[in-house]
């Protein structure tokens, strides 16, 4: 269960942006959808604890992470939330192996213990990137980077996985493949996911709860049960989420170009 009800005023260079987002979901896959600059990433950062909202509450399961009134604000270090950044933010000065093992708790001057090493190896194996373990992020292709980023985020067995447009840097063929892999992973790790996307295809593939954003507001929350997502609706083309009426036309247009 994830429940978010936050307000945040962000000011930069004289422009101000008001985020007012509230939604809750008991589903395993929540999608945040909407045009750029609508506040989706800010919401994700607030959930991860990297951004402190001005007011409201955030809780995951029965854990209260943030409550402005009661002065609760769990540090990002203690939230145990995996965050995959938009461009993956892999550490450029570390190999793939070190990147993945980074989140395992240890003193910074100590090397990884052998138990930790085998944990990393297992993840390398699951993501089929064992052969890349000595490579550096700059050597990797987009798809490989994404796998490393996912493995890095999963190494601490997070309670929640946040994905910020995980497929935006990838080509169409790779996206189809990685969508399947992501679904597989979710069943394997049993971790709830909150994902940002611009791509209607992602909604079709994943959405159990769809949160639609516009200009800093949550303007629509749709719940789809897994069963209804799997079965095609009466009108096949308009399967579960029907973006058009809430989404600005350019967003859909771009989506169509990407998925052509």
């Amino acid at each position: 269960m994830i429940a978010v009800d936050i307000e945040k005023r962000v000011q930069s260079r004289g422009r101000s942006f008001n985020l007012k987002a509230a939604f809750r979901s008991d589903e395993q896959f929540v999608i945040l959808f909407g045009p750029s600059g609508a506040g989706k990433t800010l919401t994700l950062q607030a959930i991860a604890g990297l951004l402190t909202p001005d007011a409201g509450t955030i809780s995951i399961g029965d854990r209260l992470l943030f409550d402005a009134k009661r002065g609760v604000n769990v540090q990002p270090q203690c939230r145990n939330i995996g965050y995959v950044f938009q461009d993956f933010a892999l550490f450029p000065h570390m190999s793939v192996f070190e990147n993945i093992g980074f989140g395992l708790p240890r003193k910074w001057w100590r090397p990884l213990s052998s138990a930790d090493k085998s944990k990393v190896r297992k993840l390398l194996d699951i993501f089929e990137i064992t052969n890349l373990s000595a490579c550096f992020p700059n050597d990797l292709s987009g798809g490989q980077r994404q796998r490393v980023a996912l493995a890095r985020a999963l190494v601490r067995n997070p309670e929640l996985l946040l994905l910020d447009e995980p497929f935006s840097a990838l080509d169409t063929l790779l996206r189809v493949k990685l969508r399947e892999e992501l679904l597989e992973l979710q069943t394997r790790f049993k971790v709830p996911v909150v994902m940002i996307t611009h791509d209607p295809e992602d909604i079709r593939a994943f959405a159990q709860t769809l949160i639609t954003y516009d200009e800093g507001r949550v303007c629509k929350v749709d719940y789809f049960l897994k069963a209804t997502v799997a079965k095609p609706h009466d009108t096949a083309d308009r399967s579960p989420p029907d973006p058009p009426h809430t989404i600005p036309s350019h967003g859909v247009h771009r989506g169509q170009i990407w998925c052509a």
């Binding site: 950062q45 991860a48 604890g49 990297l50 540090q75 990002p76 270090q77 203690c78 939230r79 145990n80 939330i81 995996g82 965050y83 950044f85 461009d87 933010a89 550490f91 450029p92 000065h93 980074f102 989140g103 708790p105 910074w108 550096f136 700059n138 050597d139 890095r152 985020a153 190494v155 601490r156």
Partner: protein, 234 residues
């Protein structure tokens, strides 16, 4: 043979050794302080931050003699800090090589501070945020993310600081004086030699100073270049 004798004479080796010692210790101090100051300034937002930033960069633009004067006022025998230091620790910074270190460190500090600040600011905050979501404390973020990503910029600043400390004259003269064998560095020895009309010695000192500074700059440039190339090769 004559030249070799001149080069090896204690008139040259003593100030050379003094210069290297003073500049080396001063660079270490300036680097430690510069990196910490740069990290604090980039990491924390507090009122008066811009003023502090300007104050830290001030030794770069102030005439060295002015810095020397400030130092004399601050740590001189009769000043508050200076007399305390002398009475409790028996340390005197005036007319000692430690005073020369203080002068050189202060003058070269802004070079490290500026480069380290730029290096820290250039780090994508997402790297640090990613490390935080992966459970790292702020100290851990510094040692495992910020510093490893910024060390090149910091090293560039350190090299410049060393070269600057080698050439330090004004502030050193003000606080440490020009005592041969005690506080006389290369640049002070050159001045002395010229004043005394000893052109041969002056020329030898000038050549040695130039060579040391060129070697430092070239080697630091090489070090930086190769590591950048390696990065690009990856």
């Amino acid at each position: 043979m004559d030249l070799l004798n001149t080069v090896l004479s204690s008139k040259i080796t003593t100030p050379l050794w003094m210069s290297l010692k003073v500049a080396g210790v001063a660079t270490v101090c300036a680097t430690l302080c510069g990196v910490i100051a740069a990290w604090v300034i980039t990491r924390f937002k507090f009122p008066g931050r811009e003023w502090l930033d300007s104050l830290l960069a001030l030794p770069l633009v102030l005439p060295p003699t002015v810095i020397g004067y400030y130092l004399l006022v601050l740590v001189g025998r009769n000043s508050m800090i200076g007399s305390r230091l002398h009475s409790t620790f028996g340390i005197s910074l005036v007319f000692t090589w430690q005073g020369a270190v203080l002068a050189a460190a202060l003058v070269s500090f802004p070079l490290v501070y500026k480069s380290a600040r730029t290096a820290f600011e250039e780090i994508d905050p997402r790297f640090e945020n990613a490390a935080r979501t992966l459970g790292l404390s702020e100290i851990g973020v510094f040692f495992r993310i910020s510093f490893p990503l910024a060390w090149r910029g910091i090293l560039a600043g350190t090299m410049l600081a060393f070269a600057r400390a080698m050439g330090e004259f004004g502030a050193t003269l003000m606080i440490a004086g020009n005592l041969p064998g005690k506080t006389q560095t290369l640049s002070l020895a050159v001045y002395d030699a010229v004043q005394a009309g000893n052109d041969g010695l002056a020329a030898a000192l000038v050549v040695i100073t130039s060579v040391v500074c060129i070697v430092v700059l070239v080697s630091s440039g090489k070090m930086l270049k190769t590591s950048y190339l390696k990065e690009a090769d990856r």
